[in-house]
Subunit: 388 residues, 2 copies
Amino acid sequence: MDQPTHNGRTMSETLDSLPTPALILDRAVLLRNTRRMSQRLAAAGVALRPHVKTAKSLEVARLATEGHDGRITVSTLAEARYFAAGGFKDIFYAVGIVPSKLPAISALRRQGVNLRVVTDNLPVARAIAESGSAGNSFSVFIEIDSGAGRAGLPYPDLSALVEIARTLHDAPNIELAGVMTHGGHSYHENTVAGIRRAADQERIAVTAAAKMLRDAGLPCPIVSAGSTPTTMHAAGFEGITEMRPGVYVFNDLDQVGIGSCGAGDMALSVMASVIGHYPHRNQLLIDAGALALSKDISAQEFMPKAGYGTIKDSPVPELAVVACSQEHGFVGADAALPYDKLPIGSRVRIMPNHACITAAAYDRYYVVDSEQGDGRTVIATYDRVNGW
Amino acid sequence: MDQPTHNGRTMSETLDSLPTPALILDRAVLLRNTRRMSQRLAAAGVALRPHVKTAKSLEVARLATEGHDGRITVSTLAEARYFAAGGFKDIFYAVGIVPSKLPAISALRRQGVNLRVVTDNLPVARAIAESGSAGNSFSVFIEIDSGAGRAGLPYPDLSALVEIARTLHDAPNIELAGVMTHGGHSYHENTVAGIRRAADQERIAVTAAAKMLRDAGLPCPIVSAGSTPTTMHAAGFEGITEMRPGVYVFNDLDQVGIGSCGAGDMALSVMASVIGHYPHRNQLLIDAGALALSKDISAQEFMPKAGYGTIKDSPVPELAVVACSQEHGFVGADAALPYDKLPIGSRVRIMPNHACITAAAYDRYYVVDSEQGDGRTVIATYDRVNGW
């Protein structure tokens, strides 16, 4: 049945009737991606704690955790609240905590959610230790930098690790959750061998940290690592208890470029309308620009012609969004544009550079299924949580 | 009085209590910016049709149109609906229209809002002409490319102009609103002389188009141009009836870099918390990354050290966000970082590269006033409309 939704539109939408720009999610590809990862980690005997910052969607998180114990990773307090309200009970907020956020953490923990936090430094460990009380318990990871050069104690210099851990462990109502790392440097590799090397570094660093804690008589129940590329291509997970891949649910040009997935594994696209033809400069314009696509150009590292996204099922090779202003996307290619095949008012789908960043501009996914009928009927909408 | 708001927080917030990241708007600077522009155009006898896509906020749009007739420019249908609901009656949706959006335009026009649209091509002009009826009237601009190389008939080749205009004018219930251009190429100049040249090109192109229409016996009531730089620095506005600057309400590093404004004219910043120190690589991390700041690096064209934003009131020169992942900002400088002055848990304010794009990640502004007290009390929140 047609159901009225916002703005008086009805649910019998198709890709031809949706307002543009719109964020389109292909459920068939999504399910392939979530099942592949789920099976890979189940077979390895490693827990899956997907990073739900990519989709920020309850429906996608439920699919991603199917058959697993429901633990997830988030990147904001807004996500923590949203997923807690949706029934998730073991949530790791994986961005370095600061003391001012502890009351918000406590508030969620008092509702029965095991919301875990992370730090890599003694000042915050001390602040957490001082905040611990019967009504303010915390579960804390210590972060290790296994080569990404972002947060964490820089392996192999883990000299500060034991003092941070002991400060937490000795305090009342504080649980030392374990150690964690993120092999983000794998995003700058584009061979399986290179990604596997990053995965080795992830595993070596985080398991060395776990051993150091245990050798000091401290607990380390969870040894947490992961990124999409390292989880897909790691030679093994020995000593790791959970992996935290994120973007694999959708994939994107960046993941295709580095070899985490194939082009057919991209579940997300932005649908836009052609709004003008400019043959004097061999371009056309679409109504999806910097906000609808994001200005993330990660994929250009290994796909120099990825632009701000490539056109799906393009009539010419390497048709891409070559420039963006706020609401205009400039589409071009080396070949002459076939304007007759892309008339003004027609619709194109743009494969995003970096799905996590592109999706953040939208409040919902319009879900289609490329394996059902012509794949153009909107079968569901999934909401998202944005902001902080 | 303290009033409860979302998440149980109260209104007695200050910059020291707000959750981070947060979008901070300095009302004193905002008012200086809106009044300067308002006075400049009032003195020139040119109407001000601010492009409200920057702030997407009713409160800011009301300040920007104070003393003028209330006409505004928008970039999305979501903005059109929001500002119409807020009482704005003359709204120009300045992104090339496509036939599929005409029913939404009509729906708003039937509510008494003069929502005007734009095109630069005959197929759309014909579709609009065919859609015109007693209950479906339209007001249509024709877009001219005065040198930006984005949308519009490419001046001086305006050979298609009269046919497009006549197609619209001859149709029932269609008003030919006039001609419009956007001198976006001024963003790539960084001298007053260069910006003035772009402003001249804007004026010459759009007034030539107006003359061509009038010479053909067609009406051209509105001659619309404008960008922030060209409106600030144009030598004159002869023949132009309205200007559409946008980012001037906030300004940003990009506008400082090109010389549209001074560093003290930036009204918008992102407040973030320091979450970690990394002396081995002379960096620190903040909890504002690609989503909180955007990945727009426009300002780097003329400010190579602008990064993804610079730190306000920094204790060392040229402290900037040098890299971003989704929720992490990497802060660095050439000089050694003074970690004692930026302890973990302390707060910094980041001046954005491109205010329009950065603001789009937030649903509200926390408003402070740098000329009241210590400037750290949140005196209001202004909401925003995002999405499409």
